[in-house]
């Protein structure tokens, strides 16, 4: 939800027009990325701080490039190299960042709700770059952008999300985003990795991946964390791959032009077979490029002038 129009924390309750505005804005941004001179002066003099309490080179770089392409100054604060590791609280760190004059703070945090806490504390805009098992709205937006780019629409598409839904912030943001744009969301994964009440979001739950794949236009394969098996949440990786791994035969059950997506990094041979990951239907690298474009759009929209509001 867009709190006061200042932050991007969650895609729940975000109006379809806002999502459309973000995606529409990302299109001209993508054109800039494809130029020889990948820079526009739009955010000159603005400062974007990436504050990462979890390692994620991919997402952090994507935001930093987005900031730099728009001529903003990008500063990275990594947990391991700052006073964060010396026990400074999130709120204290936030106050320090504000005192230094940041305009936008991009926060990655292992605990759900941390971005809301930050947004309540500081005047700068906060972009949630993933909080615990809550949400990862920019990942979902780049998913939507990629699908819309490839399919020309989102409405009426059948989207399968397969894997560890319980711990997936990407799945939650995807559900809100796709649902808002009129797509049908199907979830597949082991019962022990399916969060309670998830069907109330409007998504449909399948325990049989093959049933879920029937006629699907998009298949989003989630990463399975190895430690979930050690926690006893499912019996083993081999059985997981047998029951929920995306392979060539299963992909045939989806629509012939179905897109295969993955938020990365992939465990090849576990949740996704190499021939699917590198196949013609995979758009995983496009997702990465589009991630920068979508983040540029968000930085632009959130750094409006006097009132810093996303224009609906």
């Amino acid at each position: 939800m867009v709190i006061n129009g200042k932050d991007l924390i969650s895609l729940r309750n975000i109006p379809a027009e806002t999502i459309k505005l973000i995606l529409d804005t990302a299109e001209p941004m993508k054109e800039i990325i494809n130029r020889q001179i990948k820079k526009v002066p739009t955010l000159r003099g603005r400062t974007v701080v990436t504050l990462f309490y979890e390692a994620s080179t991919r997402t952090r770089m994507s935001f930093e490039l987005a900031a730099k392409y728009l001529s903003a100054d990008a500063v990275n604060i990594a947990a391991a190299t700052s006073s964060i590791s010396k026990g400074e609280s999130l709120k204290d760190t936030a106050r320090t960042i504000t005192a230094m004059g940041a305009d936008i703070v991009v926060l990655r945090h292992p605990m759900a709700g941390a971005p809301e806490l930050l947004a309540r504390t500081i005047n700068a805009s906060v972009i949630n770059a993933g909080d615990g098992a809550h949400e990862h709205p920019t990942q979902a937006l780049l998913d939507l952008f990629t699908v819309r780019e490839k399919k020309g629409r989102l409405e009426g598409l059948k989207v399968v999300i397969v894997g560890d839904i319980l711990h997936s912030r990407v799945a939650r943001s995807d559900i809100w985003g796709y649902t808002a744009m009129g797509a049908e969301v199907r979830l597949a994964g082991p019962a022990t990795l399916m969060p309670p009440g998830i069907e109330k979001t409007g998504a449909r739950v399948y325990s049989d991946l093959e049933e879920a794949l029937e006629g699907a236009d998009v298949v989003n394969v989630l990463r399975i964390q190895m430690e979930r098996q050690q926690q006893g949440l499912f019996p083993g990786l081999r059985e997981y791959a047998n029951m929920f791994g995306m392979n060539r035969d299963r992909l045939k059950l989806a629509a012939p032009d179905a897109l295969v997506m993955h938020p990365g990094p992939m465990n090849r041979g576990v949740e996704i077979s190499p021939e699917v990951a590198d196949g013609l239907q995979a758009v995983i690298n496009t997702q990465v490029t589009n991630g920068v474009a979508v983040r540029m759009a968000l930085l632009y929209l959130l750094t409006g002038g006097a009132h810093s509001e996303v224009a609906y």
Partner: protein, 432 residues
């Protein structure tokens, strides 16, 4: 010194009566009750339009002393109590050190008495250090004045140990208060497990966490004949289990907190850490079941589980915040607004669950306005209303999810041992 409380609606739970009467207090005791009592030699308190009830007893509070004085002390906790119209509290032993021996029980009792505000009772630990390994010296603690035994904050995980604790407590004629939680099921959880926890991406604490232990302890109470009191019942399943156990004659009582009959897990949306409490806020169906349990008598007692924390401790990420809600200063208003105005309980039923019933569970004086009873009285103004403003709390803890909520039916005066200790929410500061 004499005090005549004139013209109030007197609620006497021991008699089940609600009558417009005068109450005369003399030498710390209730001297008489009736119409048009003589005011000769007495100070007169005009209570017309108000409810005169036995002093409220909150049998489940955490006053944090010794060890956690930054959160609360016996002084600030007693001030919070009387501001909330509570004239007796029973403190849980999870302090530092844990109250698990006679000397510590006596220390709390004496310190509390010296403060001269609410009466402070102490609940002793079931096991040493509440570690769930060895039984604490319950017999000695009883002699020193312990009101009951509990490892509240922690479950007694070992069923054999709990069984022995019940056998021993039965011998002493004491009540075991059980904090029902299966730690394997609740591990890492921050809120009720359900759609809202899914929405927020917080790890859930399923209802079975509580119900498994309620079942176990009911079976053990049935087997041992020990009096069992289930603390902070939060789920429909627990209410059902207690109801069934009572029907077959198990000596069980149960309590519910104001937050559990008022709020649902939807209050957690927005990650306000003042909604983080154990057991967690449950669903609307659970709230309805708890109210039904209150109405049909399955739930005997309303207690706050007053659990103050510092602002610094609560003003963090939801997962990092400690569990707990302060309740002493909002309990009466919530009971009146949610249960009495809400049509769940009559004023007599509500008062009974805050006075007579906890007195009986703990086997302590109070809970009645009968002649000779201690002159502990709370006067409630059913017409008064206020908006909850944590900065006005006497408690050090400001961790309430009710800030900004409008409450009706406020404690207007509190009398302990015949002495007026609170009037219109201000503390009579005889100490300073």
């Amino acid at each position: 010194m004499k005090l005549l409380i004139r013209g109030g609606t007197v609620v006497e739970p021991a008699e089940g009566s609600v009558l417009e009467q005068d109450v005369l207090l003399s030498e710390g005791r209730i001297a008489g009750i009736g119409r048009n009592l003589s005011a000769a030699g007495a100070e007169v308190l005009d209570a017309r339009g108000k409810l005169v009830v036995p002093g409220l007893i909150d049998m489940h509070v955490h006053l944090r002393e010794p060890g956690y004085e930054a959160k609360e002390t016996l002084l600030t906790g007693s001030r919070a109590a009387v501001r909330g119209g509570v004239t007796s509290v029973a403190c849980m032993p999870n302090t530092k050190p844990v109250i698990d021996n006679a000397a510590l029980v006596a220390y709390i009792k004496n310190t509390g008495k010296a403060l001269g505000l609410a009466r402070i009772y102490q609940i002793g630990a079931i096991t040493l250090g509440s570690k769930g390994e060895e039984l604490a010296e319950m017999g000695d603690m009883k002699k020193a004045g312990a009101a009951a035994f509990s490892d509240d904050g922690q479950p007694v995980t070992d069923a054999a140990l709990m069984r022995r604790a019940m056998q021993y407590a039965r011998m002493l004629g004491m009540t075991i208060i059980s904090h029902c939680e299966n730690k394997e099921l609740s591990a890492g959880g921050a809120m009720h497990e359900g759609y809202i926890s899914t929405l927020l991406g917080l790890k859930g604490i399923p209802s079975s966490t509580e119900e498994i232990m309620v079942s176990r302890d009911l079976l053990l109470a049935e087997e041992t004949g020990c009096r069992l009191h289930i603390a902070h019942v939060s789920t429909a399943g627990s209410v059902r289990l207690v109801r069934q156990a009572k029907a077959r004659g198990v000596q069980v009582t149960a309590e519910v907190t104001p937050h559990h009959f008022t709020l649902t897990d939807e209050a957690v949306v927005g990650y306000d850490t003042s909604t983080k409490v154990n057991p967690p806020l449950r669903t609307a169906a659970d709230v309805a079941a708890v109210k039904e349990g209150l109405a049909d008598g399955t739930i005997d007692v309303i207690a706050t589980d007053h659990a103050p924390h510092t602002i610094e401790e609560k003003d963090v990420e939801y997962d990092r915040a400690p569990f707990g809600i302060v309740g002493l200063e909002t309990a009466m208003g919530l009971v009146w607004t949610e249960l009495v105005v809400g049509g769940v309980l009559t004023p007599l039923q509500a008062v009974t669950k805050m006075t007579l019933h906890p007195a009986r569970v703990l086997n302590i004086p109070g809970g009645t306005l009968g002649a000779g009873a201690p002159a502990d009285i709370t006067i409630i103004d059913p017409a008064a209303s206020e908006t909850v403003e944590p900065s006005l709390f006497e408690s050090k803890g400001r961790n309430t999810p009710f800030a900004g909520r409008s409450l009706k039916g406020l404690p207007w005066a509190a009398i302990v041992g015949g002495r007026l200790v609170m009037m219109e929410r201000r503390i009579a500061d005889s100490l300073e």
